[in-house]
Structure formats: structure tokens, C-alpha cells
Amino acid sequence: MAAEENGVWGLVEVFVSGLQDGKAAELATGTQVKAGNCTVLQVVEALGSYLANSEPRTRGRGVQLLSQVLLQCYPRLTQKEVEVLVLFYENRLKDHHLITPHVLQGLKALSMCETLPQGLAVSILKAIFQEVHVQSLMQVDRHIVYTIITNFMRTREEELKSLAADFTFGFIQVMDGEKDPRNLLVAFQIVRDIIVKSYSLGPFVEELFEVTSCYFPIDFTPPPNDPHGITREDLIVSLRAVLASTPSFAEFLLPLLIEKMDSDVQSAKVDSLQTLNASCAIYGQKELKEFLSSLWSSIRREVFQTASERIETEGLSALHTLCQSLSRSVVGSDGEDLLDSFLNCVLQDCKHHLCEPDMKLVWPSAKLLQAAAGASYRSCYKITTSILPLLLEQYNQHTQSSQRRTIVEMLLGFLKLQGKWIHEEEDENALTGFKDCLCTVMYSALTDPNVQLQLVGIKALTALGSLQGLLSTSDMELVVDHLYRLIVEKDAQNHLAAMEASGSLARMYPSAFASRLVPKLSEKLQTDQMEPSQSSLRQRCLRALSAVSTHPCIVRETVPLLLRYLQHVQKGSILCAEGMISVCQSLHLLAMQCQQDTESLWYYHQTVIPCLLALAVQAALQETQTQAESPVLLDESVLTAMVPVISAACSHLSPELVTPSVSQVVGLFLHGDVSFLPENSFPRRFQPFQGGESEEKQRQLVALLMAFVCPLQRNVEIPELDYLLLELLTLSTSSRCPFAYTSASKCFAGLVNKCPAGEQLDEVLCSVMERIESGLVDGFDRTRVLTLLLWVTKALVLRYHPLNTQLTDKLISLLTDWELGPAAADGFFLLVSDTPDVLNKACHADVRIMFRQRFFTENVPKLVQSFHAADEDKKPNYLKALSHVLNSLPKQVLMPELPSLLSLLLEALSCPDRVVQLSTLTCLEPLLLDASQILSLHMDTLVMKLLSLTCSPAMAVRIAALQCVHALTRLPLHVLLPYKMQVIRALAKPLDDKKRLVRKEAVTARGEWFLLGSPGS
């Protein structure tokens, strides 16, 4: 009440006398002003006597209050008020130094006023420059000065520029001697703005450079627990932005950088090179000219001498930018071409290293040359034409494969660079004159017995061939012949690389490959097919056929060829399943390559799907006497291999294209409509859903239906969906063939996952639930029903459908089932893992991110609880289910749960079930790396159990156990040392494991244990 009566006067008195909480008074006064109860001028009036008080401290309190009030209500100030206040504050700057900080606060508030009249910003700055010795202020107050300047630069740019170079000079004085990193960041930003926004520097260029470059290179190390969070990197970047902001600094900066590059401190070298890189980007010939030779010798020295990859990279990058800048400049009127003379220096210093017989500095030299050549077409032309003849000659002079390999690797580097320019510049191709020699060298490399040399040869040849318009048709024929040889020759070690090269080159030279490689491969495939020993060669040919199919016109050759071969193999029946699977794999690879190219993919879809379906239907309807005579094509492994072939042909096609064939395929399965199949005279009707138990062979083909319908995009409409779902449901619980009913369940789940929520889905789910409930009671159907339950649960878990909880609970309850328990436990793996053929992202399934975390949170507590309550003989089922779920999760999610789960995990290690052992180990390993604290409490148990598992009969368990033993070494040393000898002793045994992969892990683990607590580790 008292405050209100006395109004502002009272508040002012309270504040200035400093008897009570000043903050409250400041706020209260500010509020009064903001509320319109009084004006700022009234406050000034009220302060009157204090502002004139003879005691500086009292005057200070007065000014402080005023400034705080202004900071709160500066947006409300009128132009008139501002004018008065500015005058007042400018005067106060001359007052006692104790008052200055408060004055600056007030000026800061005024600097934010939009109503500040024209001219006053300049006036304020002049006053500050004149009256305040900024560097003797406290850090906070200096920061206010920078803020005032920043504010004005943002809002009063024109006005400030009227000060011309005085402003720049004023600021130089303000920041000269600044030491605080927080202020430096602001000051650097101001300098950068002065330069970038073209404030006049006048005669002060060098001073401005000096006042900033004195901090280079930054050697600031933030104190531990620094609350400001300023890093050395922040300062480096911000200073670099200043130094590299203008060509005017060039004459000062370049000598400085040349000096600092020679520093002994690695970080100074790196910083200098990076700054050089940044500044070269804006320099032209004029700035660089004088320093070129010193710059080159510094860069060369760093790259030649350094052991640090970082410095090498930065050095090369700086050289690259330097050459780019020189390339940008037009050749001067005096005809002096700086780029040309600079490159001459580079060539002169590097070239001879390429010819030294001991090849000592070849790599640094080649890297320097390539960095320069990569800068522009001109550099590339000059360097390439000068270096290529040399390298070609060197190739012939060296006879050792390893040396030749080095040369071809260098050639490869130059060829790759060539590719950067050739498209841009139409004129002369630097390589034209060397083409024949290059080809000769490549062919020599390709025929060398040294595998490594062959490999770079292949890569270099690919690079050469990728250069537009260089190789002629006859060259390419020779290239194709070499690649063919590398693919099919005995013990071909580089066949994969040769195939990859064929794929890349075929894009550019489709006819050469279509007319030469494809027929040869086809011929090879035919001639050797009777030889069982040739199976690896056959696979190579098949794989090569898919690899080379990178152009639509080749696809049109290879697809029919592969399909004919498939038919051929089926009739021959000598090669049985393995041969068919190889063809399918090849077709699949081919489809993956076509996916980016609609034309090829559409052709593939139209050609492959009817053909495969026709073959399958034919086989299913074929009359056979006994089960044993069943056609190879109906082998589960072959059908499984066909699934991805069909899927890949469907998943990437647009709804418009794919809709007609959806009707055809659904019609085939639901109504036996075979009209679209290429060969469609069958002995009987195809009716996989109606055929009953006698037609299990037809039912198996549901896998192919799944392969077709499940990967379709979600907006493709599937005709007769209800009917189809119903038939699938029936088949999934009635077939006796596991492959058929599992495929039906998967197909059903795949479709349900994509069904939009609504009545239709609810009805379908309702009928599934009924079927599952009743089926689990019945003795005959139980395994089938569990399969259905698993897949449907997965479909719903993925899309967060509300019903998923109920289904998962059902599954958990089955863990105690005497018959289905173990299978239900395995089923948890299915729920949380990615499945390759259905219900995944590639199939456009509805998969919510974090579904695993959600599943974990909802179900792990239930599983743990039930585990503790379960009978001993059922516990392994819970452990298995749990370990599957835990294993699927990222360790960050698992970590917080670890304390509660650890005893269970340790128990799981003793579980005799190998699957449980393995997944527990896999789960433990990352935890050992990150949760050392908790785990170190259980060392005895851990070490004992892990060591005993290193001798498990299962190889995968041995490997995982050894990986864990290795991971143990991350625990604190004092925890480990008592076990060191025991572990080293125990690991001697797996060193002699019969499996190499196990030995490898044992070696790694044992090596690390040896190093524990040993000097030098």
C-alpha cells in the first residue's frame, strides 16, 4: 500500500538507499512505467536529486535504476524521451568510472530503440570511442559495448557508414587487447561484418588485420567444466571467417600462414592449412602471385614430410583450392599465365619422384599432382599430358607386380580426375594421344598373375572406359574379351570385380556387351552344364549375366536367356534344385538392378512373372506316381528362391502399371484363370484353394501369390480381397504341408498389415481370433494355428494395432504349453526380427518406428514376472523368448533396464539351450562395453560361465563367448587383473579350435588380455 501511495518516488528512494531488495524495486518501477502509471521522464525527475548527488555511489545507484527501467521498457520510449536520455547518458560517460557500467546498460537499452532519432547512433558511438577505455572494463561491461555496436550495425548501417573509417578505427581501439573468449566471439563477428558489409577500412587495413590476427593460431583450451561452452573450434572457425574474409588481408595473411605452417605444433599446421584453404577460395592471381613459390614449398614440405594423415589431407586440399583460384583468373594482358608457371613448379618438384627406382616419394607426389589436377580443366590437361607418358614409361621399366600395381593405382587416380572435366569442355581430350598406350598397360595388368595388379587394372580400365568418346568399338570389343576371360577363367579371383566393371561399362557401351559378352556367357553356360564340377563356373556365368544387365537393351537379351535356361534346367532335372536356385538368384540380382529404370522393370515384370507362374503351375499339375517324383521346381528351396524374384518385380511398379497383372494373378489363384500364362494347356484345372488335401502341391504355390501381392504399394487395390483373405485363412489352418500353411499365414499377415483400419479389418480380425481360439483347443491344428497366431501378431505389432496386446498375451501364455512352449519361445524371434520376404519396409508394410522398444516395454515385465513364477522345466522357454526380445533392441534402450535383467541373463548363460546361450551372449556383449559398473560386481560368475562357453559344441556360441571375453577387457583394470592368468590360460584352448573363425576371436581376446596392466598398452 505504501509503495502505491508514494508511487515512483517511494520506489526510487527504496532502491537508491539500497536498504531493500533492489531487484524488486527495479521490477516494480518498470511495471509502473509499462502499465502507463508514470513516464520514464517522471522516473528521471524522481531520481533527480540522486542523479546529481555528490557521492558517486549514490549517483551510480540512480543511473543503475534508470538503466534497468529502460531495459524493461525501451520499446515504449518516444523519440523525444530518447533524445533527452541519450544526451543525459552521453554526459554521464564523462562521470566517475564507477558509474560507467550502469551508463553502458542504459545505452544498450537505447541502442535497441526503434525511435532513436537519426544521427544519435553515431553520436553514442563517438562518445563511447572517445570517453570509454573499453579494455579496462570488466568482461560483462565490455560485452555490453560489443552488444551496443552490434545493435547499431544491425539497424543503423547507413548511418554508421557515414563515419567512414573512423568507425573501423574506433572499433579497433575498442577490441585491442581483448582476452575473453566470449567477447572475442562477438568481436570477431563484428570485424567480419565490417568487412563483409563493406564498411570503409580506410588506411586501417593493416591495423584491423593486426588486432585480429594476433590471436592466430588459436591456442585456447576451455577450462574443465567450462559453463560457457565455448570450444577452441568455435574460436578457430570464427577467427578464420575474419581472416579469410577479404583479399585486402592477403599481403599480411599469407606470410603469417607460411610462417605458422612451419610450426612444431600440429594443430597450428592444420589451422594454417585450413585458413589458407579458406582464403585462397576468395583470392585471385593478384593476391597470390607474390607468394606462390613460398606457398608451394610449404605445402610440398608438409605433404612430403608429415606422418599425419590430417596434415596431408589439409595440405592437399589447400593446394587444390590454390590451383582453383589461379584457374579462375583470366590470363593477364602481359600474357603471364600464373597457373601455367605454378603448375610447372609443381610438376618439376614432383615428376622426378615418380621415376625414382625405389619409388619412395611416389605417393605423396602423386597425391599433390592429383590435388592440383583436380582443380580445373586446364590444370588437369596440363598435368595429365605431362604425367601420363611418364607413368606409362615407368610401368614398362618396373617389372615387379607390386610396383606396377602402384603405377596403375596412380594412373587410376588421374583417369578418375579426367572424368570430372570431359563432359564440361568439348575441346581436346588430354588422353586422346595416350589411349592406345593406356589400353596396352591395362591389358598387361589384366593378364598379370598378380591378383592385386589385376584388380587395379580392372578399376582403371573401368575409369578409362567411362570417359566419353575415348574408346572405339574395337577397343571395347577387346575390353569385353578381357573381362569375359576374368569372369570365366579357372580360379578367377577377380571375377566379382570384372562383373562389376562389366555392369558399369555396359551402361555406356550396351551393344558391345549385348553382342559379345552375353552370347559368350550363354554359350559357356550351355556347354559346361553337364559337368557337376563346373557348378561354380555356372554360377559365375549366371551372376555375370545379371551383373551386366545395366541397360534396357541388355536386359531384353539376358532376361529371356535366363528364363530359357531355367526351363532347360527344369526339363533336364540333372542339376536339380541347386541349379534352379542359382538362376533365381541371378534373376533377383537383375531385378534389383532394374528397379531404378521403369522401362526395364516393366519389361522384366511382364516377361518374368507369367513365365515363372506358368512353370510352377505346370509342375504342380503334372501327374506323378509318387511323392518322390515331384518336380524339382516344387522343391521348397526353389520356391523360396523364386519369392524374391517375383517380389522385386512388383514392389517398385506404380499402381497404374501393376493393376492389370494384379487382377490376372489373383484371378489365377482364386478362379484358376490361366489365360495370361504363355503356355497354358494344362491337364487339369489350377485351384490351389479348392483342391483339398490331395492337392498340396498346388497349395505350395501360395508362396508365389504372397511374393506377388505382399510387396505391392499400399495404394494398389487388390480385387476380391475379402474372399482372398478368407481362402488364405482356411488354407493356413487346413493344409498339412508346413510350407503351404506357413506361406498362407504370411500372405494373410502381409495383407492384414496393410488393410486400412475400419469395419472390413475388424471383421477379418474377428474371424481370425475365433479361428485361433478354437484351433488351439483342437489337438490336430495346434502347430498350424500357432504359426498363424505368430504371423498375425507380427502384422499387428508392427502397425501398433490395439489388438496386438491380446495376441501377444496369448503367445506368452503358450510358453507354458507342454507341446507348443518351445515353438512359441522361438516365435518371439520372428516377432522382433526383420523378415526378408514379407512385412518389411521394402514390401511397403506398415512398420512403425520404435515398435521394438514398445514391444519391449509392454512385454518384458510380463515375461520376467512369468519367468519367476514358472516351473523349472518351463523356464528355458521364457529365457529364450526374453533373450530374443532383448537381442533385438539397441543397447541404449537396454542399458537402464540392465540391473533388473542381469541376474536373469547370467542364469540364461547356464541354460543348456544353445539358442538361448547365443542370444544371451549377443545381448551381453555390447553391455559389457557400456555397463561395466554393474557387470563388474558379477565377475566371478561372468568369467566362469563365459570361459566354459568358449568350449561349447556350437561354433556360434564359442565365437560369441569369445567376443564377450574380449569385451570384458573394457571393465576397470583392478576388476580384471585377478583373472588375467586364468583367462589367458583358458584361452589357450580355443586358439587351437578346429574352426578358423573361432580361433580368430580367441586370438583377439587373448591378445587384449595379455595387454591388460602391461606396460605400453
Binding site: M981, Q982, I984, R985
Partner: protein, 337 residues
């Protein structure tokens, strides 16, 4: 030949480490072993099995390379890579370290007591052999430092009944020393081995010396005194030693040790090919040019290098061996009829 060497028992003596050397006490009731675990262990027989009677763990900072019993059986000397030699005194069943001999620059590789018990010899990688004198108060004084070898000295051993010392070295030679006017001098250098000589052993009489080497051979040397019948030349008054037999072609890797039984004259070897072999001089061979036959070959005597073999001093044919695998094995050798 196969059954001529039978395994009696095997025990893990220095687990997680290698066992370097064994020594029987003079009466053969105790066996001392030493190894990379820096300990010395004393083994005694209880019933049919060998048990560890005590572990001497505190004396050395590094590998204990060799041990040797004094002729009275009351002292044990141990040579270690920590550059010291410890003297342990037996008190009932326990051992106490009574003196630590320092002086070698680096690893002490071997130690041996003279038959009188008054002299002790040590040798080291510092290329020197030191002779120490022992008085009644158990005080040890170095009486000579012999720098005859040009390399690492691997082993020292005294003549069975004279004050004659022999040393084997990385410089491929063997040297013999005796006292002469208050100092010790090298009297003979035995040259012939083509690589490091790892160990040596005198026969019972001391007339013959067996040496084993990294060149995969064993050589037998014989002493010829001044004016010998065979006309072997001697320089000065000292006897001359001549190689009279080379056992080559039997061993496939370095031979680390040789032991010459003073009871039966059988020669046993410890080899880096994991085998133990026994040789006998052929009954009718010429003593000046004897021939030896291999009478036992236990090819996988240990799972790793065999470092040491030693015949029991009292029981004929009882042999102890030890290996890098940390184990000690006891064998019974049956002479062929």
C-alpha cells in the same frame, strides 16, 4: 626301444608359466624346481606321489632360471633374471633366504656348487663367470670374475671331484677354469659347436664331458693329460680336451639340457622338439673313439619344449624332466638287455 622309457607320473609344477630347471638334493629325497612364475618349489615323495613341500616365492623379482643344491644338502642356490643369486638355508621343512649375491649386471643364468661346498660359481648374460668363496659363517665373497667368453654365459658346472669349472656360452664355446696362484684362469676353450652351447655334464669320473647345443648336436669331449699315450698335444701343464664323438641327426631342434648318470653312465637329453632321448655308449666301442646309440626316444615327452632332464642321484634309471608347459614328469628308464 619304445618301452625303455616309462612315464611314472606327471604334475603341474608351475601353472600358467614355464618350468625351467630341476635339481635333486644329494640324497635324492627332494627335487627343487624353478620357473617363470618367479618361484622355487620343493617336491618330496609321499607314498607313490610327488607333493609340493614348500614354495619359495619371496626371493626373486623375475624368472628363476636355475637352482643348485649344496653338496651337504642344507643349502639351495637360485639364479634369477633379476641379476641376483639367492642362498636358501633349509630349516627342518622350511627354507629361509640367508644371503642374496649381487654383482652381475643383468640376468644370472646359472649357479653351481663345487664338490667341496666351499666354492660357488655363477654366470650371466653380462658375459662373466663369478667364483664365490663360502666361509663357516655363511659369508660369501667373490674371489674371481672371469671374462673369457665373448657373449652370454648360459651354464656353469663343476667337475665331480676336482676344483675345475666348466662354462657354456652363446659364443658357441665351452671354457674350463681352475685356480692358479690365488686367481682363477681359463685353461681350455672347447670349440666345435656351431651355435649356442646350452648345457654340459661331466661323467662320473670327470674324464669326459657332454655338451649340448642349438646346433642340434651333443658332443662328447675327453680329457687328455700331459704326456698322454694317444699323443694329443697339450699346451702347458693343463690337460687338453678333445671332441671324441658327435651325436648328430637325432635331435630336430635345440637341445637345452644333457644329464649324464653317475650310476649307469646313461646320457639323457632335453630337446626343443618336446622329446627326451637316452643314449648309451656301445659296449665294445673304443674309449678314444666311442660310439653311442640311442636307446630311448620319448617323442612327445611334454607338450612343449623340454628344458631340463636330470637323473636321480641314487636310484638307477629314475629321470625327472620339466618343460615350457609348466609340468614336471618322472620317468623310469629300463636298460636294454
Amino acid at each position: 626301444m619304445k618301452d625303455s622309457l616309462t612315464l611314472l607320473s606327471r604334475l603341474s609344477a608351475h601353472p600358467d608359466s614355464r618350468c625351467w630347471f630341476l635339481a635333486w638334493n644329494p640324497t635324492g629325497t627332494l627335487l627343487a624346481s624353478c620357473g617363470g612364475d618367479r618361484t622355487i618349489r620343493i617336491w618330496g615323495k609321499e607314498g607313490d606321489s610327488w607333493v609340493c613341500k614348500s614354495v619359495l616365492g619371496e626371493g626373486h623379482q623375475r624368472t628363476v632360471r636355475k637352482v643348485a643344491w649344496s653338496p651337504c644338502g642344507n643349502y639351495l642356490a637360485s639364479a634369477s633374471f633379476d641379476a641376483t643369486t639367492c642362498i636358501w638355508k633349509k630349516k627342518q621343512t622350511q627354507f629361509e633366504c640367508v644371503t642374496t649375491l649381487e654383482g652381475h649386471e643383468n640376468e644370472v643364468k646359472s649357479v653351481s656348487w663345487a664338490p667341496s661346498g666351499n666354492l660357488l660359481a655363477t654366470c650371466s648374460r653380462d658375459k662373466s663367470v663369478w667364483v664365490w668363496e663360502v666361509d663357516e659363517e655363511d659369508e660369501y665373497e667373490c674371489v674371481s670374475v672371469l671374462n673369457s667368453h665373448t657373449q652370454d654365459v648360459k651354464h656353469v658346472v663343476w667337475h665331480p671331484n676336482q676344483e675345475l669349472l666348466a662354462s657354456a656360452s652363446y659364443d658357441d664355446t665351452v671354457k674350463l677354469y681352475r685356480e692358479e696362484e690365488d686367481d682363477w684362469v681359463c685353461t681350455a676353450t672347447l670349440e666345435g659347436h656351431e651355435s649356442t652351447v646350452w648345457s654340459l655334464a661331466f661323467d662320473k669320473s670327470g674324464e669326459q664331458l657332454a655338451t649340448c647345443s642349438d646346433d642340434n648336436t651333443v658332443r662328447i669331449w675327453r680329457q687328455y693329460k700331459l704326456g698322454n699315450e694317444q699323443g694329443v698335444v697339450c699346451s702347458g701343464s693343463d690337460p687338453s680336451w678333445k671332441c671324441i664323438c658327435i651325436l648328430s641327426g637325432f635331435h630336430t631342434r635345440t637341445i637345452y639340457d644333457v644329464s649324464w648318470s653317475h650310476l649307469t653312465g646313461s646320457l639323457a637329453t632335453a630337446c626343443g622338439d618336446d622329446a627326451i632321448r637316452v643314449f648309451e655308449e656301445d659296449t665294445c666301442s673304443d674309449p678314444q673313439q666311442p660310439s653311442f646309440s640311442m636307446t630311448a626316444h620319448m617323442s612327445r615327452a611334454h607338450s612343449q619344449d623340454v628344458n631340463c632332464v636330470v637323473w636321480h642321484p641314487k636310484e638307477e634309471g629314475l629321470l625327472a624332466s620339466c618343460s615350457d608347459d609348466g609340468e614336471i614328469a618322472f620317468w623310469q628308464y629300463q636298460r636294454l638287455e
